[in-house]
C-alpha cells in the first residue's frame, strides 16, 4: 500500500522507532530540521537548559525573532511596557548566550515567526519544523511537517534536536472546483473548521488536496495550513509542486546549484501515493463556497456572510446549544440577525494568517478609490518588516493611508493583544486573524474572523460586507487609483 505525504515525511525523520515494551508502545523519536523561536515561549526553556547544564544542540538549525510583544508604532523608542521589554531583553540575552541567530525589532527580517521562515526560504518541503506556537502549522503549506509545541518540548528540541511523538492519523481535506471572485483561501479554511469542528482534527495531520488547493498561491496555502490548529489538528500540509518551487527559488536560504536540483528531485517524491489510504476524508465544493465569517467565540462557530446569526435551537447537541447561548451573550448578538447587518468598530488586517504581501494587495485592491466608513478604525499590520517594505515598494501603504487606515510596523499585534494593540471592552472587530476567543484581542473585545477582502469591504461599509456588496468605484476615482484590481465587485 502507498503512503501519504505526512507518513513519508514522518518516516524520513525517525531517529529511533518506538518499541513495544511490556505491551506499552513508546513514541517514535523524530529529528527536527528547523526550530523557530520567539520571546514568549522560550525564556523558561533556555532557563531549563542553563539549570541542567545542557547546551543548545544545533544553533545552526534554530532561528529567533521578536513578534508577540513588539509595538507596531514608535519602534525606535524603548518598549514602554516593562514586562514586555524584559521578555524581549531576555530573548536577546539568551540568543547571545546560546549562539542563536535573532532578528530583532528594527531589523529588515524581523516579523511574525511564521512569516519569516518562508520569507527567508528556510521553510522547505519535507522538513520537520517546530516552534513554541500553535500556528507553526503554517509551514505545512510547503509540504513540511510543521507543528506547535509547548515550552517543555521547546527545551527538549533545544537539547536534543528531536522530539518524541506518537504517530498521527491522516485526514484528507479534498477541495475541488473553482473559487468564485471575492472568495479566498481564508473562506475555505473557515468552512472546513465549521464543518469538522474545533476538535475534528484532533490526533490527525490534515492534507489539503484537490484542484482548488492546487490553484492557490503559496501565500494563500499558508493561510489554510495556518488554521489547521483551529480544526484541532496540530499540523496541516499541502504537497509541494511547481508553485512551491517557484516561490522558493532564489530565496536567501533556498538550496543553490546542484543542491537545488537534488532538492527538487527529492521534493517531487513528496506527494501522497495514488494507492495510499487516509484514515478520514472530508470533501468540500469550492464552487459553492461564499465568503465566510464567524459569529461566535470559537473558530468553528461560523456561517456564510449571506446567512444570519444562528439560534441555540439550531443545535441538537446540548453542549453546542449551551456554547451558542454563551457566545451570543458574549458577542451581544441576537439570533436571526443577518450577518451583514452587524456593525463593527474596528477592522484588523494582519496576523500570521493573513499579513503576507498578497493579503495586503487583495485588501488594497478593494479599497483603492473608495472611502472608509468614518466610524470605523482600520489597522494594517504587515507580517514582517520585509513584507512592509515590499508593500511600500508597490505603493500599497499609500492606498491604505489615503483610505484612512493606520499603516503599522510588523508583529503579531492585535491578533492576541500582547502589545498595546488591543480592543476595548465591547469593541467589535472584523479581523483577518485566527481566533475569536473571548477576550483574545483585548478584554471584552468581540471578534469576527474574516478574509482580507471581507475586512476591506467591511471597512468601506462599516458593516460586515463582501466585496460584491460594494458600489462600483466612480470612474474618476478608478482612473486616479489605477486599475490593478484582481478581485472585482460583482
Amino acid at each position: 500500500m502507498g503512503k501519504t505525504l505526512a507518513e513519508k515525511v514522518w518516516e524520513s525523520h525517525i531517529v529511533r522507532k518506538g518499541e513495544v515494551v511490556n505491551g506499552q508502545a513508546e513514541p517514535d523519536l523524530l529529528y527536527i530540521d528547523l526550530h523557530l523561536v520567539h520571546e514568549v515561549t522560550s525564556p523558561q526553556a533556555f532557563e531549563g537548559l542553563r539549570l541542567a547544564g545542557r547546551k543548545l544542540r544545533r544553533p545552526d538549525l534554530t532561528i529567533a525573532t521578536e513578534d508577540h510583544n513588539t509595538p507596531t508604532i514608535d519602534i525606535d523608542k524603548p518598549i514602554a511596557d516593562v514586562t514586555s521589554r524584559t521578555q524581549i531583553e531576555t530573548l536577546r540575552a539568551n540568543c547571545k548566550e546560546f549562539g542563536v541567530r535573532l532578528h530583532s525589532l528594527g531589523d529588515a527580517q524581523q516579523g511574525i515567526v511564521h512569516i519569516i521562515g518562508p520569507q527567508l526560504g528556510l521553510t522547505q518541503p519535507g522538513l520537520t519544523v517546530v516552534c513554541g506556537d500553535s500556528h507553526t502549522s503554517t509551514h505545512g503549506a510547503f509540504g513540511a511537517l510543521a507543528m506547535g509545541i509547548g515550552t517543555s518540548e521547546v527545551e527538549h528540541v533545544m537539547a536534543t534536536q528531536s522530539l518524541s511523538l506518537n504517530p498521527f492519523k491522516t485526514m484528507a481535506i479534498n477541495v475541488e472546483g473553482t473559487l468564485k471572485p471575492g472568495v479566498t483561501s481564508k473562506d475555505i479554511i473557515l468552512a472546513v473548521i465549521a464543518k469538522i469542528g474545533t476538535g475534528g482534527g484532533q490526533g490527525y495531520v490534515l492534507e489539503y488536496r484537490g484542484s482548488a488547493i492546487r490553484a492557490l498561491s503559496m501565500d494563500a496555502r499558508m493561510t489554510i495550513c495556518n488554521m489547521s490548529i483551529e480544526a484541532g489538528a496540530r499540523a496541516g500540509m499541502v504537497a509541494p509542486d511547481d508553485t512551491t518551487f517557484k516561490y522558493l527559488k532564489g530565496r536567501p536560504h533556498a538550496p543553490q546549484g546542484e543542491d537545488w536540483d537534488a532538492a527538487v528531485e527529492n521534493w517531487r517524491t513528496l506527494r501522497t501515493d495514488d494507492d495510499a489510504v487516509f484514515d478520514a476524508e472530508v470533501f468540500l465544493d469550492a464552487d459553492e463556497l461564499e465568503p465566510f465569517v464567524t459569529w461566535g467565540t470559537n473558530p468553528g462557530q461560523g456561517v456564510s456572510l449571506s446567512q444570519a446569526v444562528p439560534s441555540p435551537d439550531d443545535f441538537a447537541d446540548e453542549n453546542e446549544k449551551a456554547a451558542c447561548s454563551r457566545a451570543l451573550e458574549y458577542m451581544a448578538l441576537e439570533a436571526g440577525t443577518p450577518m451583514k447587518d452587524i456593525r463593527v468598530d474596528t477592522v484588523f488586517l494582519g496576523s500570521c494568517t493573513n499579513s503576507r504581501v498578497e493579503d495586503l494587495r487583495l485588501a488594497a485592491d478593494i479599497i483603492r478609490g473608495r472611502q472608509k466608513d468614518p466610524d470605523v478604525r482600520m489597522m494594517v499590520v504587515p507580517g514582517s518588516a520585509r513584507v512592509r517594505l515590499e508593500a511600500e515598494a508597490e505603493g500599497l501603504d499609500k492606498v491604505f493611508k489615503e483610505f484612512g487606515a493606520e499603516w503599522r510596523f510588523a508583529g503579531c499585534s492585535m491578533c492576541l493583544g500582547m502589545n498595546p494593540d488591543q480592543l476595548a471592552p465591547g469593541e467589535r472587530c472584523a479581523s483577518t486573524s485566527n481566533r475569536n476567543f473571548e477576550g483574545r484581542q483585548g478584554k471584552g473585545g468581540r471578534t469576527h474572523l474574516v478574509s482580507p477582502v471581507v475586512a476591506a469591504a467591511t471597512a468601506v461599509r462599516g458593516t460586515l460586507s463582501s466585496p460584491s456588496d460594494l458600489d462600483p468605484v466612480p470612474p474618476a476615482a478608478a482612473d486616479q487609483a489605477g486599475n490593478s484590481s484582481t478581485i472585482h465587485a460583482a
Binding site: 523519536l29 515561549t41 538549525l61 518540548e153 476538535g199 536560504h253 456554547a323 473571548e438
Partner: protein
C-alpha cells in the same frame, strides 16, 4: 518530575465545551519569564465574576477539574498547564483534549484523563448535588472514582509510564544520543541551515 500513581481531591465541575487556553490563561500573563507563580492568572477573566465556580467554596480548594469536550484548544502556551498546577489542580477530566494541551500536561505532571462524555455528565451531577465530593484518579488502574461513580479513562501508555515513574523527557531522549548523531551524519546536504545567516 514527581511520581504520580493516584491523586484524590475535590472535584470541580466546569460545564463548558471548547475551553481554550486563552481562557485558561489570558495572553497578558504570558509576559512573565518564570515557570511558576501563575495561580493568579488561571481563568483570570472568568474569575472576575464572583459566581465563577473557582470563586466558590469548596471548589476553590479543588484539584480535579471536570470539563466539557475539547478542553485546551487554541494556543500552545504551556503556561495553561503551569497555571492549573500552580492553582492546585493535579488532573483534568474531559471527553476530548486538544493535542498540544494534552502533550504539555504530560510533560508537567498534570493528568489529562480522557473520560467518556456520559460519565462526565454523571460526575458533573454528583459534584453539583454534593459539592466537595472528592474524585480519585488512579493512574495505575486508569480509573476515576467520584462517589458511587467509577469510570475508566484513557491516557497514552508512554505518558502514563512517565508520570508513574516521574521521568524527565530530555534525560530519556539523551539515552539515544548516538542515534541522533548517526541520523545527523546522513542528513542530505540540501537541507537548510540558519547559520551562516543569509538575507
Amino acid at each position: 518530575m514527581e511520581k504520580i500513581t493516584t491523586h484524590t481531591g475535590i472535584g470541580v465541575p466546569l460545564r463548558q465545551s471548547n475551553v481554550d487556553t486563552d481562557q485558561i490563561i489570558p495572553a497578558v500573563y504570558l509576559k512573565r519569564i518564570t515557570r511558576t507563580g501563575f495561580e493568579d492568572a488561571l481563568f483570570a477573566a472568568w474569575r472576575k465574576d464572583e459566581n465563577f465556580i473557582l470563586n466558590r467554596e469548596p471548589f476553590n480548594h479543588g484539584s480535579v477539574l471536570v470539563a466539557g469536550p475539547d478542553f485546551g484548544t487554541g494556543s500552545s502556551r504551556e503556561h495553561a498547564v503551569w497555571a492549573l498546577k500552580d492553582f492546585g489542580f493535579r488532573a483534568v477530566l474531559a471527553s476530548r483534549f486538544a493535542d498540544i494541551f494534552r502533550g504539555n500536561s504530560g510533560k508537567q505532571g498534570l493528568v489529562a484523563a480522557q473520560v467518556a462524555q456520559d460519565d462526565i455528565e454523571l460526575i458533573w451531577k454528583e459534584l453539583e448535588n454534593h459539592p466537595g465530593t472528592e474524585i480519585t484518579v488512579d493512574l495505575e488502574a486508569r480509573l476515576v472514582t467520584c462517589g458511587a461513580i467509577i469510570a475508566g479513562f484513557q491516557i497514552d501508555d508512554y505518558t502514563r509510564w512517565r508520570l508513574l515513574e516521574g521521568l524527565d523527557d530530555i534525560g530519556l531522549t539523551l539515552r539515544h544520543e548516538e542515534a541522533i548523531t548517526a541520523y545527523e551524519a546522513v542528513r542530505p546536504s540540501f537541507k537548510p541551515t540558519t547559520l551562516p545567516a543569509r538575507t
